[in-house]
Symmetry: C2
Subunit: 238 residues, 2 copies
DNA sequence: GAGTATTTTTACCTTTAGCTAAAAATATCT
DNA sequence: AGATATTTTTAGCTAAAGGTAAAAATACTC
């Protein structure tokens, strides 16, 4: 044990930063500009917050070198992610929100609900392991299923895949895909992945061809069609 | 039409003040100290906020004379009250929260949910007209059922009454009453109302006698036992 | 109605979280 | 390696929401 870090509730801004750092930490530290862009905030503000997070023992931070989460910071981030994904699930399954509208509402709610609420909600929902976008829901103990899906942009021609996940955040993307029947679990065969412009051509089960541009192909995550649907593993990076 | 009061979302503090002013406005204006006590805040802070509310067109305020809501302020307050009561209903009916724990959670949530959420929740709950404590839920259009119940402390000996409402806020009160089976809808006959010390003696349907001290008797609201259960009316003071 | 008590306000601080503009460090390019 | 470009930090401001302590107004009491 180290410091007198009595767990006083973290402000919602702090939570936002922790979540974004977590999301962006593929490995190593994240830069001020990246975080600033995600949070629509000035880079200078991020520098300030990085310092504060460091003092609070939630992140390590070195000037000009970016920040990364401490175990405690990661724990807090995952707690929020769990809340977010459970709330999204609730919004869709019980309040009939559409795929597209769910993210924004959850973003606000996740900072207002208690652990008590979260666990009761999990109970109500039957302890789901994935949210409606296909993202794994961190368990109450902080473990998280290892991610097996990869962006469609990294698939290879001829592969038969299943849509495992669609990144939320951008409602238009979800909207567009939804209209074309590109929903979770849908099977596709990859016709072409063009290196030059990143365009991906796929064919769905009805034989319709869909052409996805680079950014779209990076928002759709797929798994090999033969890969079993369920998984549950222990912690790891995002 | 008057001012450039573009409806930008109100902060949650502002909302708290509006609600408290609304609750305390039996008639006329409310004092700084009253509001300060309710919100656990220094009187000076209340003075500041009163001024701000005035500028925003949410309240009228005169130095040394207290504040009261403008129609717009009242509308905002009622919107929050609606949210609060719908959320409480949801917490109890779907998340199995107990009578006692519901208030605090709802207090935080009501500032985070959107109108969209609120109305979908109302739908899910079947558009209830009262919350689990018996308080009327303001309608989406801002109307509110007229209150017909009065505190038990104002009942008179010999009256046969039904528990119509129990004020939330103090979990211990709800706890105590719950343990003794004094729940919503329960019929009681008033045995004695002692003017000196405000003690009220009642007898329940099983013939058990309960003695309530002054403060408790002010938290329990009753209606004449013959009065029909449902009511729906238009706007009025709390 | 004068004097005391209480309430309310004023004046001035504090923290959180953001901003801008300029300075400093790091990266990139030829 | 030197010059330019980009990123990051520093310094100093702002607005919300709170707090304290002293001054001012109102209320109460004899």
């Amino acid at each position: 044990m180290k410091g007198p870090e009595t767990t006083q509730p973290l402000s919602s801004s702090i939570g936002d930063y922790l979540k974004v750092i977590w999301e962006l930490t593929e490995s190593g530290a994240v830069s001020t500009t990246d975080v600033a862009a995600r949070l629509s905030v000035a880079p200078a503000s991020v520098t300030n917050m990085f310092r504060r997070l460091q003092e609070m023992g939630l992140a390590r931070y070195e000037r000009y070198r970016g920040a990364s989460l401490t175990p405690r910071g990661r724990r807090e981030a995952l707690r929020l992610v769990r809340r977010h994904r459970l709330i999204e699930t609730f919004l869709m399954e019980h309040l009939k929100y559409s795929w597209q509208d769910v993210h924004e509402e959850a973003e606000r709610l996740e900072h207002a609900v208690s652990d008590e609420f979260t666990e009761r909600l999990a109970e109500l929902l039957g302890h789901p392991s994935r949210d409606p976008h296909g993202d794994p829901i961190p368990a109450a103990d902080g473990t998280l299923a290892v991610e097996r899906s990869r962006p469609l942009s990294e698939a290879s021609a001829g592969q038969r895949v299943r849509i495992a996940k669609v990144s939320d955040e951008i409602p238009e993307v979800l909207n567009h895909l939804g209209e074309r029947g590109m929903t979770l679990g849908r099977r596709l065969s990859v016709k072409e992945v063009r290196a030059l412009d990143g365009i991906v051509k796929v064919e769905d089960e009805e034989g319709n061809e869909h052409v996805l541009g680079e950014s779209l192909a990076r928002s759709v995550f797929v798994r090999d069609a033969s890969d079993p649907a369920r998984d549950r593993g222990s912690a790891g990076s995002p």
